[in-house]
């Protein structure tokens, strides 16, 4: 890259570049980068020793473990269910398909707290669904499975919306080609459809995972929030805030943020590598 490209002295052909670029940068700066720097600024009040003792506190470490495990299971469930849902929406024509398609976005539209309260009522041991599970001695609300369910509810659209366009793009002739070459339905899916969907599925699942790591509203109502058992990291941040321990809250938040950022960039990198292969060049 030459200096002229770096400093935009070569003006783009389309008009309005200066204004639109300026506004974009301002927006990103105000809404995303400023709060982020404030977070690190708060954290920087702490020495390394203090920082380490906060983030490695046994109760906090337990929340990492619980959050990671729940997010892992939630994304796994979503990878499977999201793929199935996208498949049904793209490949079949049935009455109510449009309604189903718009319902997929509901978890994004619904306040997460409302989702959390609804889910906990449903899955409580005396709730509609919870009763059934209770009968088999399975506790869902106020236990670990409850966290998984809340997380998968809020992050399902990521997988569906990532996979859907790719699946639409993949016409039925690819499977047909596999069939004419002797592949069974299963083989065609495993060797042709799934590899095509893999990057989108990976991105969607990773986004769902990242979202689950930070989920707060939906989870706290159903989790029960018992320290060392059903307490998640974002609740831990909230607890520290309520104790007016801002440095501790930001320290824990910085750990979550770092994990999310690393994941995000990792996904971007993987996807970029895969796309260059598909598109040639």
């Amino acid at each position: 890259m030459t200096a002229s490209q770096l400093f935009f002295t070569r003006h783009p052909v389309l008009p309005g570049f200066t204004l639109s670029f300026g506004l974009s940068v301002l927006f990103i700066g105000l809404v995303i980068l400023l709060p982020l720097s404030a977070l690190f600024l708060y954290t920087s009040d702490l020495g390394w020793q203090e920082y380490w003792s906060i983030v490695s506190n046994p109760r906090v470490v337990a929340t990492y473990r619980i959050t990671l495990a729940a997010a892992f299971w939630a994304s796994l469930i979503n990878a499977a269910l999201g793929l199935l849902l996208a498949w049904v929406l793209v490949r079949y024509r049935f009455p109510g398909r449009r309604l189903m398609d718009s319902l997929v976005d509901l978890p994004f539209a619904l306040p997460t707290a409302v989702a959390g309260i609804t889910l906990s009522t449903l899955f409580a041991s005396n709730g509609w669904l919870g009763q059934g599970f209770d009968w088999f001695g399975i506790k869902i609300a106020y236990a670990f499975p409850g966290i998984v369910i809340a997380m998968s509810f809020t992050s399902l659209p990521f997988v569906v919306r990532a996979v859907q366009p790719v699946l639409e793009d993949l016409g039925p002739e690819y499977e047909e080609a596999a069939h004419t070459l002797g592949a069974t339905q299963g083989q065609a899916f495993r060797h042709v459809v799934l590899p095509h969907l893999r990057p989108a599925l990976l991105t969607g699942t990773a986004l769902a995972f990242i979202r689950s790591l930070g989920e707060f509203g939906a989870v706290i109502f159903i989790a029960g929030n018992l320290p060392f058992e059903t307490e998640i990291t974002s609740l831990m941040i909230f607890v520290r805030l309520q104790e007016y321990d801002y440095p501790a809250a930001t320290a824990i938040a910085s750990v979550v943020l770092l994990a999310s950022l690393v994941l995000l960039f990792g996904v971007q990198w993987l996807q970029g590598r895969y796309l260059t292969r598909l598109r040639g060049g």
Binding site: L181, G182, P195, G280
Partner: protein, 364 residues
Amino acid sequence: MSISLQQISKSFGNFSALEDISLDIPGGSLVGLLGPSGSGKTTLLRIIAGLERADRGRVLFDGQDVTRLPVQKRRVGFVFQQYALFRHMTVFDNVGFGLRMLPRAERPSREARRARIMELLAMVQLDHLASRYPSQLSGGQRQRVALARALAVKPSVLLLDEPFGALDAKVRKELRRWLRHLHEQMAVTSVFVTHDQEEAMEVSDQVVVMSQGHIEQIGSPRTVYEEPASRFVFDFLGHINALSGRYQDGRWENGDAWLQLPGNGCPHGNLTFYLRPHEATLARTPAADAHLPVQVDELSVFGATVKLELSPRGWQAEALEVELPREEFLALAPERKQALFLRPRHLQSITADGGLGPVLDMQG
């Protein structure tokens, strides 16, 4: 392997794609299904492959009923219109896909597969691109990979859906000849679908002309061109000039134009003649039995024949087209805007109900 279709019908909703199609394709031949879009040719090809199931009728391979046999078991090679190459696999893996999908007991060893793949890639002249991805290939190369992939499993029947449709004219010509050549080497029964008459005429042993779910004519390219069985076939194969007018007592008229046709058995009333561009000549004077005044609009002087676009003078017709041999053109030396007379040699009459009437030989 011979293919026999017996009374195949297929409809999609209210649309009847194929109606009562019967067709016998001898083993080892190369057959072109020719027709405009919507004529059912692709549906027929997909029914042969087993990708589509006929509502009625039977499909036989070498006398064996395969109507209910799923596509995987039919051993057909199918080349899709857009090739449907697997984008995430290299050329090598694409070609080897069919071999890898075989049940373990039948699957050749890794080395045998490799040898077979490289042999096929050498045959389609792409062995140097084995490790490329489809996105890195040109259209013609993708087409050849698709063909190699279809041939890898040694199919008993090769089916091609508009094999040259997505290619530019030059590549298309090359590949046509190459496919013909390949077919002579391999002698696998092949059926291809096309809407391009030239392509069907050049490549196939037998042409099946289809329209609106029916077979209009089956025959060698020469037969369907020289002895079209219906108006549709005449119309569809090559350019035609349509001369429509009224016929009464041995005389056909359209404005200033007339033809003297004594006792030829044409019905009275509205009568149209079809005239192929090369079955007429031009002169400075009218013929004794044909008075068709025209004006030269365009000339294209390249090649062994010269194509002239004409417009009628004092009568009604769509723009006319005539092809003259080069010597004839030089002898006449026509110029743009010059007034001349069209002298047909061979006219196909079309009756008012759209059927084929008698063929007339004129003085020319």
